[in-house]
Symmetry: C2
Subunit: 201 residues, 2 copies
């Protein structure tokens, strides 16, 4: 069975990816299996570029094909910001997720609601000689001014999913694995991941 390294040390993300890839005959490895925790500078101006930086760094360090993702929140009224800078979107030097949400809400307060927004995710697999597959997922919704739900992280508590009366932080694991931008990116990668598992790509 072929190995695939999940190029993340985030336990929640490892669990989420493991569940979505459960039916693909791959042996999923984690950086902890190799005592690794690389500090990758994610300074690309695109989601796919940042996912590539992570996946290729872990592939080089382990010799194993590695899967990474990068995602961001794009708010229409802010011209798509914070986008690829979502994780660093705050003037505070050591901002928490809650700080970043508060900062976003402050920026939005000058604009009329609804504050339309979307999460975007790029997923990439790199082998040691380069990229093997790339997939995309999107989750549309809007930003709301109150915090709802305890699951997830980042902007999840203030992101209301389109067509659901739930924020991303109110979704249970099962629903999140169907609806989230990362789940949708991984789902659209499943045909290619099946080829990968069988050694075809």
């Amino acid at each position: 069975m072929r190995d695939l390294l999940l190029a993340t040390t985030n336990p929640g993300k490892i669990k989420e990816v493991s569940v979505i890839l459960a039916n693909i005959p791959l042996r999923l490895r984690t950086p902890a299996d190799f005592g690794l925790n690389l500090s990758v500078v994610e300074d690309s101006e695109s989601y796919a570029g940042n996912a590539y930086l992570k996946a290729s760094a872990y592939a080089a360090a382990t010799g194993l094909p590695s899967l990474a993702d990068d995602s961001g929140l794009e708010v229409q009224a802010l011209g798509g910001a914070p986008g690829v800078h979502s994780h660093r979107f705050s003037p505070l030097p050591s901002a928490t997720d809650h700080d970043r949400c508060q900062y976003l809400l402050k920026q939005l307060s000058a604009y009329p609601r609804p504050w339309k927004a979307r999460f975007i995710c790029a997923v990439l697999v790199c082998g040691i000689s380069g990229e093997l597959l790339r997939a995309w997922g999107e989750c549309p919704g809007e930003i709301i001014p109150e915090f709802r739900g305890e699951n997830g992280f980042g902007y999840d508590p203030i992101f209301l999913l389109e067509g659901q009366n739930k924020t991303m932080a109110e979704l249970n694991d099962f629903d999140k694995n169907q609806l989230s931008h990362r789940a949708r990116a991984l789902q659209s990668a499943l045909p290619a991941l099946n080829l990968f598992a069988r050694g075809i790509i």
Copy 2:
């Protein structure tokens, strides 16, 4: 509406791709619209590498995001040959499709049937600053020793699709757009192509 250049001068391929992408709000352009017919050397050792060479060459020449594919036939008894060399698989200097089929059948005559095989296709879109999406498709089947059907090209007349009593050359356009390796690669690229059409990637 965003432009997408189909990086091929093969009229059959242009038609096939146009039908599969019919519901995506994109203005499909062809090299003929620009009086272009680039001679791209496809010397990569991977399908995705060759698709990248074509897509990036047309993107550089036109400034437009460009879609290219590369495909090959992999025969199990021959260890995956002709694979990425499918188009050049013949000792004859100016071999026709029929010559290549005959040459393949001669190679296979030493092996017991069934001669299991698969077509593989990589589809790639490149913008002027690099790759935007990559998708994969596969069509399983077997090589048969007689020529059947008039459609398609290459190895299509001697490739019997798994689960169908038809060769690739016996499929009508509608079935080919569901079942072929290229159709499957394009179908798995549809979510990403929708994001592309809306300017998100």
